[in-house]
């Protein structure tokens, strides 16, 4: 199927088309899902190279499961987030110690770089946020990233993390309180003093 006709096609349909041999469907699925998988993995692992390895592995598992995909059983995006969560959890468990994200290893900026002072401030903010995220318990970090950065709904997060919606609400609330505590005292340094509340 021509790529320009696939724009509005649901992920699941693209996966079925891929399973029938449509390479364009694979390319479009990759463009839709890979950035989200990579961003999520990078937030959880705080390591670009490891996040790329995980993202590639998640997509590989998606290709392999295409022929056996059961329609309506799960959303493709939710399945992808779940596999990403599991792979990242395995990697985090295998680490001997938690590492902070080095500045030169920080995620690439998607948009055009802002002017120098603002760019530096944004870099400081993202570094501070990532450092604080790294110190949260794994489950709280996953819930906060999925809810407040990836923009998933609580029911979707519940499916990804295989827990109830109430548990998701509890994790995100505790995670945000934890972030606020970890970032306490940095409001001025991060440039929020002159932006109003």
């Amino acid at each position: 199927m021509a790529r320009d006709t696939l724009g509005e096609v649901p992920d699941e349909t693209l996966l079925v088309l891929y399973a029938r041999g449509d390479a364009d469907a694979a390319r479009l699925l990759m463009h839709r899902l890979l950035p989200r998988v990579l961003a999520y993995a990078a937030r959880l692992l705080s390591d670009r190279a490891e996040a790329e390895d995980v993202a590639q592995e998640v997509m590989l598992r998606l290709w392999k499961v295409a022929t056996d995909w059961r329609s309506g059983e799960a959303q493709v995006a939710t399945w992808v987030y779940r596999v990403t969560t599991n792979l990242c959890t395995d990697r985090l468990r295998s680490r001997t110690r938690r590492r902070a994200l080095p500045l030169d290893n920080a995620p690439d900026v998607a948009d055009a770089a802002p002017a120098a002072p603002a760019h530096l401030m944004e870099t400081d903010r993202m570094t501070a946020l990532q450092d604080a995220l790294n110190l949260l318990p794994d489950r709280q970090r996953q819930a906060v990233v999925l809810r407040h950065i990836e923009g998933l709904t609580n029911p979707q997060i519940a499916e990804v993390m295989d827990i109830g919606v109430e548990a998701v609400e509890s994790l995100t609330a505790r995670g945000k309180r934890g972030l606020a505590a970890l970032l306490a005292g940095q409001r001025d340094a991060l440039g929020y003093d002159d932006e109003g509340e």
Partner: protein, 137 residues
């Protein structure tokens, strides 16, 4: 300003935190060309090795299509193989043919046998004609 008030004023508010998290969306890592190429190589490889073979897998014949062959094979097995079955079939056809056509040599043999056979008959019941004759008298 008292110290604790200054510290309180320097704490991140909910709005600050929400803004910080929302800003993180704009700073998501972008997949490199190399990563996308690796992912597509995987996709094509899986498509060729897993998806395509499944799509062109040889069609399995239905039981109805297979049954004539199996029926013949089973019968041949009873007679000890297809060669033996062919011999039995030829003998059967030849016997039927000889019985119907009755070739001259065979007819001579059968007539000679019938001539030599002397059949004796015994009447166990009196004939019907005798009964009528007795009644007339």
């Amino acid at each position: 300003m008292p110290w604790d008030t200054m510290m309180k004023a320097n704490e991140m508010t909910d709005a600050d935190l929400d803004a910080l998290l929302a800003g993180a969306r704009d700073h998501a890592p972008v997949p490199s060309d190399a990563l996308m190429a690796r992912v597509m190589v995987d996709a094509i490889a899986v498509q060729q090795n897993v998806v395509a073979p499944a799509a062109v897998r040889p069609r399995v014949a239905s039981p109805a299509e297979r049954s004539p062959v199996r029926w013949f094979e089973r019968l041949a097995a009873v007679f000890g193989g297809t060669g033996a079955l062919a011999g039995v079939s030829l003998a059967t056809v030849a016997g039927v043919f000889i019985g119907i056509v009755q070739p001259a040599p065979v007819a001579a043999v059968t007539s000679a046998l019938l001539v030599e056979m002397q059949l004796e008959t015994v009447e166990l019941f009196p004939s019907e004609t005798a009964l009528w004759e007795e009644a007339a008298e």
